[in-house]
């Protein structure tokens, strides 16, 4: 055996189980990077209703937060990554937490992982919509989602400035939803809230399962919102 052979043998190998997950994440980042210019910015809780309703019909309601930075990439230096078949959560050295959602499943696991990364998160099964629902400054009638919906008091939402500082939410058809959370910007006692109806329906275009009723929001407290309002 020569030193070259020994060198080949000592090459650290990627565990096979991890290789595909890592490759998939790298692929998402690559594809998102090539399309960076195409990211659109839509204001949270304002505008984009037509597009939003259309997306509900397809698989999930997806909006882009007002703080979204199109094409923004965290570059290396992350301190912790948790990869499952459904999602990837990365905590960056700077404290920001990035979530890639491939499938809307395992809300309990996601909540636990986010909390371990310092995000006081509530990831709860079910469809939750703040009420009154005001989009583009206009109050709207209850959504016809075809699923039971919990309407909760919009007064429990943190101010828009806080939402913008904490949550960046990007999604494009065919790509996993991507969120960047800044836990440091969350007021004391607040919580990031994500509703999460797992398992249905399936979007044949991107393989996602499950739906969200509303993009993640920051609540003024860390309790699960109580249902009230219409059709609850």
């Amino acid at each position: 055996m020569s030193e070259l052979k020994a060198l080949r043998d000592m090459r650290p190998a990627v565990p096979q189980a991890e290789l595909e997950a890592m490759r998939m994440t790298a692929r998402e980042r690559f594809v998102a990077g090539t399309r960076a210019r195409r990211w659109r910015r839509l204001p949270l809780l304002a505008g984009g209703l037509t597009a939003a309703v259309a997306v509900i019909g397809a698989a999930a309601l997806v909006l882009t937060g007002p703080g979204a930075v199109p094409g923004q990439h965290d570059r290396g230096g992350h301190t912790r990554t948790v990869v499952t078949a459904a999602w990837t959560v990365r905590e960056d050295a700077g404290g920001a937490v990035t979530i890639y959602l491939r499938q809307y499943t395992d809300p309990a696991g996601l909540q636990q992982t986010l909390r371990a990364d310092g995000v006081d998160a509530i990831v709860h099964p079910g469809l939750y919509v703040p009420w009154p629902l005001i989009v583009g400054g206009m109050p709207l009638p209850p959504l016809q989602l075809g699923y039971p919906v919990c309407y909760y008091a919009a007064t429990g939402l943190a101010p828009q400035a806080v939402q913008r500082a904490v949550v960046t939410f990007m999604h494009r058809q065919g790509l996993p939803a991507r969120l960047i959370i800044h836990p440091d910007a969350m007021p004391h006692g607040s919580a990031l809230f994500m509703d999460f109806l797992a398992g249905r329906p399936r979007d044949p275009k991107n393989g996602n399962t499950g739906v969200w009723a509303w993009p993640p929001v920051v609540l003024t407290n860390d309790r699960l919102p109580a249902c009230g309002g219409p059709q609850s």
Binding site: M1, S2, E3, L4, K5, A6, L7, R8, D9, M10, R11, P12, A13, V14, E18, L19, M22, R23, T25, A26, R27, R29, F30, V31, G33, T34, R75, G76, H78, T79, T81
Partner: protein
């Protein structure tokens, strides 16, 4: 007679100038190899990032790809090497860890290549130490050859030099390695692994 109906990397890259989505096929072909290489050099923390950045950098400069190379591997590894350079401290730490891990003993291995395994275990920590002390350019070349398993010509293309220069440099590196490992390796049946 075999008819190869698969487009070459060069075809895909040329096509991606008009249809950018085609470049994803290049990613799918080569990302596992690049990821393994980056993982080996930088570890799991940066493997995904650097792999993605490598292909993004390749995508951005695909207009300058030399179509005379049907296989894009050398080009991609060359870009990966440049991306890895940005994480020198991480690599140095990685090599220190590798040295410690190898010094702790070989991992469980049920292969019947006992002699090779014992030899690798004996050489491992010293090799890791030598690797850490090599000049950057020499380490890059050696690992392209040993870990990415590129040929002389491919390594030369990756590093923007000639195959004869690569061969000469590699010979010099191996002489140095043998010297620093304490002379010739008694298990070395022959010197021509390549």
């Amino acid at each position: 007679m075999t008819i190869d109906t698969q487009p070459s990397d060069a075809d895909l890259i040329a096509g991606s100038l008009a249809e950018p989505g085609l470049f994803t096929a290049v990613f799918d072909r080569h990302s596992a190899g690049i990821l393994r290489y980056v993982y080996a050099r930088l570890g799991p923390e940066l493997a995904e990032d650097v792999t993605a950045e490598t292909f993004l950098a390749a995508f951005r400069c695909r207009g300058r790809y030399d179509g005379a190379w049907p296989d894009a591997r050398p080009w991609l590894y060359g870009i990966a090497v440049r991306q890895i350079r940005r994480h020198r401290r991480v690599e140095a730490r990685r090599l220190r860890l590798l040295r410690s891990a190898l010094a702790d003993g070989p991992a469980e291995d049920h292969s019947d290549r006992v002699v090779e395994r014992v030899t690798a275990a004996r050489l491992g920590p010293r090799l890791a130490a030598v690797l850490a002390e090599l000049p950057r350019q020499d380490r890059e070349l050696l690992l392209l050859f040993a870990w990415a398993e590129l040929s002389y010509a491919e390594a030369a293309a990756a590093l923007g030099t000639t195959a004869s220069a690569v061969k000469a440099r590699l010979h010099r590196i191996r002489v140095r390695m043998r010297r620093e490992l304490g002379g010739s390796n008694p298990m070395d049946e022959e010197n021509g692994d390549e």
